[in-house]
C-alpha cells in the first residue's frame, strides 16, 4: 500500500518535529498513529533516513509494542480486559460474547469497519471488573447488556 500525499505530509511533519528529541521513536510513532490511525510500513524508509536507523530497527521497534498497528483499524477500538481480576469476575464470558456478537476474533474488524476488537491486559479498573475500553472510555462492571449498548452506540 503506497502512502497517500496526505499521509506523506503528516509523516514528514512529525518526523521533522521530533528530530532533536532524545528517544524520539516512541512519541513519533504515537503522533503518526494518532493522526493516521496506524503506522504505515511505507513510513519506515522516511523515518530510517531522517533518524539514521535501519528499516529493520524501525520495524523491530513498531512490532515490539502491542499498541502500535501497521494496518488501519476500524472506526472504533473495543478493548476487552483479559487480566486476572477481570477473569475472577467472568471476563471470559464477556470475551466470547463480544466475539460472537461482532462475528470477529481478536485483532479483527467488523465488516462495516465500525469496531476493531482487541484484548488488553489490565485497564487499572480492577476494582470494578470486568472492564472494557471503547476508544478512550473505560466501562466497568461490564455485563452482556452493557456490551450490547456499547455496540449499538458505536456501530
Amino acid at each position: 500500500m503506497e502512502l497517500s500525499e496526505n499521509q506523506k505530509i503528516v509523516i514528514n511533519r512529525h518526523v521533522e518535529a521530533f528530530l532533536d528529541k532524545p528517544g524520539a521513536l516512541l512519541p513519533l510513532m504515537h503522533a503518526i498513529q494518532d493522526d493516521l490511525g496506524f503506522v504505515p510500513e511505507d513510513s519506515y524508509p522516511i523515518i530510517s533516513k531522517a533518524y539514521n536507523l535501519s528499516v529493520a530497527e524501525i520495524h523491530g521497534f513498531v512490532t515490539f509494542y502491542h499498541h502500535f498497528r501497521t494496518h488501519p483499524s476500524g472506526k472504533n477500538i473495543l478493548q476487552v480486559c483479559r487480566a486476572e481480576s477481570c477473569q475472577a469476575m467472568g471476563s471470559e464470558d464477556i470475551e466470547s460474547y463480544c466475539k460472537e456478537k461482532l462475528g470477529i476474533d481478536y485483532h479483527q474488524t467488523t465488516k462495516d469497519d465500525a469496531i476493531t476488537l482487541e484484548p488488553v491486559y489490565c485497564l487499572g479498573n480492577c476494582a470494578c471488573s470486568p472492564a472494557v475500553m471503547i476508544n478512550d472510555k473505560v466501562v466497568g462492571r461490564v455485563t452482556t447488556d452493557k456490551i450490547d449498548s456499547i455496540i449499538k452506540a458505536y456501530k
Partner: protein, 515 residues
C-alpha cells in the same frame, strides 16, 4: 445560599457513570433552582460505592452512593444537598469503616481535593516537603529517605534511600529521575489513582528526588492504557511550571527541575526498569544486563533514579513529617504504609492504605466483605500476574515483605485479586504462562520459549498424559525459568504456576497429596 457537593472524576468512577451523574445533577439543580457548587474531586477509593456523591455540611462531608442517574430526582426530593439522611445516604464519609480504619499518608489528600487545583493542594499540606527539602543539603535529604525505611513500592522493595545514595555518589553532569508509571499488574490501580487524583504529590516527590541526587530532568513513563492520567498529569505539570515549582530556580533556589510525561505503548515488560529505560531511549523494550545498575548507568548511560509512582509520591510526606514519623508505622523491616488494592471477586473493592502488618484475612473479610459472588474465596493472588496464589490456609499471613517471601510469595505493588471456588486454578496457571509468552521481551530463552512449553505441559497433565513425568517436567521448567532469566518476568512466572500446582493439584487432575 449555595450548597457544595463533590462528584469524583477518577476513571473508575467515570467507568461507572460519574459524568452522567454529574450532568444529571446539574440539570436537576437548574430545574429546581437549587444553587449548587459542584467540585470534581478524586475518588475516596470505595469503588463499590461509586459514583459516590458527597455533600459538605457543618459536621463534615456526608456521602451518598452508589448514585445512578435514575436516583437523582429522588435524591433532590429528599434534599440530599443539605446532607439530609435519606435513600443512599451513608452518613459522614470519614466515619465509614473503610476510611476510618486506614492510615492514609501517601493518599492523605486523595478524594478530598480537586486534583488539578494547586491551591487545594497547598491548603492540604502540599509542597511542605519540598520547602523543607530546599533547606537541607542533598546528603541530608537522602539520609532522611534512608532513615524512613521506605522501600520501592513498585514491587522489588529495594530501599529507596540506598538507591538515591548511589545516584548521589556517582559523579556526572547529567542525571535523571524516571518515574515508573507503567502499572501493568492486574489488580493494581494505586499509581493510577495518585496520578489522576493527586498529581502534584508525584510532581513534588520527583522534584525532591532531583534536588537530592543532583538531577535536573525527569520523565514519567506512563502506560498508554491510562489516557485520563496523562491529561491530568500534563495539566498539573503546566500549573506547577506557572507557579514556579518546576523550571529554573525553583521557588527562588539554585535548583532547576523539568519534567515530561512519555506515553508508553502497551508492553508489560516495560514495567521492568531496564526495559523501561530502553523504551524511553526509543528502542525495543529489551531487558538489560545488570550490572551496571541504572543508578550508575541508567538513561542514556547516566546515573538514574528509577522509582515507582507510589515510592515517589511518598517522598513529600517523609520530608514534611520526618523519617521517624514514617518509620513508626509498619512492622519489622517493612516500614511505613502500603496502599493496598482490593480487586477481583470481592464485595467491597478499592484502595486501602494501611501500615504493614495487617493480615490478608482482615483485608478480604473486614474490608472486602467476602466474595462478590457469595461463594467461598478459594485463593488470592497478591502482587500482580507474577505473584503466587495463596490459599485459605495462608490468609493469616501479615502483609510484610519478609513474611511473604518465606511463603515464596510477594507483596509486590500491593494488589490483591480474589478468586471464588468456581475458579479452576490450573486454568489460571496456564494463563500465567500464556501471559508470559505474550509479554516476554524474548531476550532469555527460558522465558521466551519456556512459557509456551509450559502451556503445553499443563495441557498434557490435564489430559492425563504421563502425569508424573509431566509434573516433574513442569517443576523443572519452573526451576530453569527462575534461575535462568535476567528479570522478574521469566524469573517469577513460575511462582503462580507452582503455587497453583502445590495447593490445588486436583484442578490439574492430579491426586491430592501433602504439600
Amino acid at each position: 445560599m449555595t450548597y457544595k457537593i463533590y462528584i469524583p472524576i477518577d476513571s473508575t468512577s467515570l467507568s461507572l457513570g460519574a459524568n452522567e451523574v454529574y450532568e444529571e445533577i446539574k440539570r436537576e439543580a437548574l430545574k429546581r433552582e437549587v444553587d449548587l457548587t459542584i467540585i470534581r474531586n478524586g475518588s475516596r477509593g470505595l469503588f463499590w460505592l461509586e459514583p459516590l456523591v458527597e455533600v459538605e455540611t457543618s459536621n463534615g462531608r456526608v456521602a451518598f452512593g452508589p448514585v445512578a442517574v435514575d436516583d437523582i430526582k429522588n435524591l433532590f426530593d429528599q434534599e440530599f444537598y443539605i446532607g439530609k439522611d435519606g435513600d443512599l445516604c451513608l452518613g459522614l464519609t470519614d466515619e465509614l469503616y473503610w476510611l476510618k480504619n486506614q492510615e492514609r499518608l501517601t493518599f492523605a489528600r486523595v478524594g478530598i481535593t480537586d486534583p488539578v487545583n494547586i491551591n487545594d493542594y497547598e491548603k492540604y499540606d502540599g509542597f511542605k516537603g519540598l520547602k523543607n527539602a530546599l533547606k537541607l543539603d542533598s546528603q541530608s535529604i537522602v539520609k532522611t529517605m534512608t532513615d524512613s525505611g521506605l522501600r520501592g513500592r513498585g514491587g522489588a522493595a529495594f530501599p529507596t534511600g540506598i538507591k538515591w545514595q548511589t545516584v548521589l555518589d556517582t559523579p556526572s553532569d547529567t542525571k535523571y529521575i524516571v518515574c515508573n508509571a507503567d502499572e501493568g499488574d492486574s489488580g493494581t490501580f494505586s499509581d493510577r489513582m495518585i496520578m489522576e487524583n493527586d498529581p502534584f504529590v508525584l510532581i513534588e516527590g520527583m522534584i525532591i528526588a532531583g534536588i537530592a541526587v543532583g538531577a535536573e530532568y525527569g520523565y514519567i513513563y506512563l502506560r498508554s492504557e491510562y489516557p485520563d492520567a496523562q491529561k491530568v498529569l500534563n495539566k498539573a505539570i503546566e500549573t506547577a511550571k506557572n507557579k514556579g515549582f518546576l523550571g529554573s530556580n525553583i521557588l527562588g533556589s539554585k535548583y532547576n527541575f523539568n519534567l515530561e510525561v512519555t506515553k508508553a505503548a502497551g508492553a508489560y515488560i516495560c514495567g521492568e526498569e531496564t526495559s523501561l529505560l530502553e523504551s524511553l531511549e526509543g528502542k525495543r523494550g529489551m531487558v538489560r544486563y545488570k550490572p551496571p545498575l541504572p543508578a550508575i548507568e541508567g538513561l542514556y548511560g547516566q546515573p538514574t533514579v528509577v522509582n515507582n509512582v507510589i515510592t515517589l509520591a511518598t517522598v513529600p510526606i517523609i520530608l514534611d513529617k520526618g523519617s521517624e514519623f514514617y518509620a513508626n508505622y509498619g512492622m519489622g523491616r517493612s516500614k511505613g504504609t502500603l496502599p493496598i488494592q482490593l480487586a477481583g471477586n470481592l464485595k467491597q473493592t478499592g484502595l486501602i492504605e494501611k501500615a504493614f502488618g495487617i493480615s490478608l484475612r482482615e483485608l478480604l473479610y473486614d474490608f472486602g466483605g467476602g466474595s462478590f459472588s457469595g461463594k467461598p474465596i478459594k485463593a488470592v493472588q497478591v502482587g500482580g500476574p507474577l505473584g503466587a496464589f495463596l490459599p485459605e490456609q495462608q490468609f493469616d499471613t501479615p502483609l510484610d515483605y519478609e513474611k511473604f517471601s518465606e511463603l515464596n510469595a510477594v507483596v509486590g505493588h500491593g494488589g490483591i485479586v480474589a478468586f471464588d471456588d468456581t475458579t479452576d486454578m490450573s486454568k489460571m496457571a496456564r494463563y500465567s504462562f500464556e501471559f508470559c509468552a505474550i509479554e516476554s521481551c524474548g531476550k532469555c530463552t527460558p522465558c521466551r520459549i519456556g512459557s509456551t512449553r509450559g502451556m503445553e505441559v499443563i495441557d498434557k497433565i490435564k489430559a492425563g498424559i504421563d502425569q508424573n513425568k509431566n509434573e516433574k517436567l513442569l517443576r523443572d521448567l519452573g526451576d530453569t525459568m527462575v534461575n535462568g532469566s535476567l528479570c522478574a518476568m521469566g524469573g517469577m512466572t513460575p511462582s503462580p504456576v507452582i503455587s497453583a500446582l502445590n495447593f490445588f493439584p486436583r484442578d490439574f487432575g492430579l491426586e491430592k497429596r501433602e504439600t
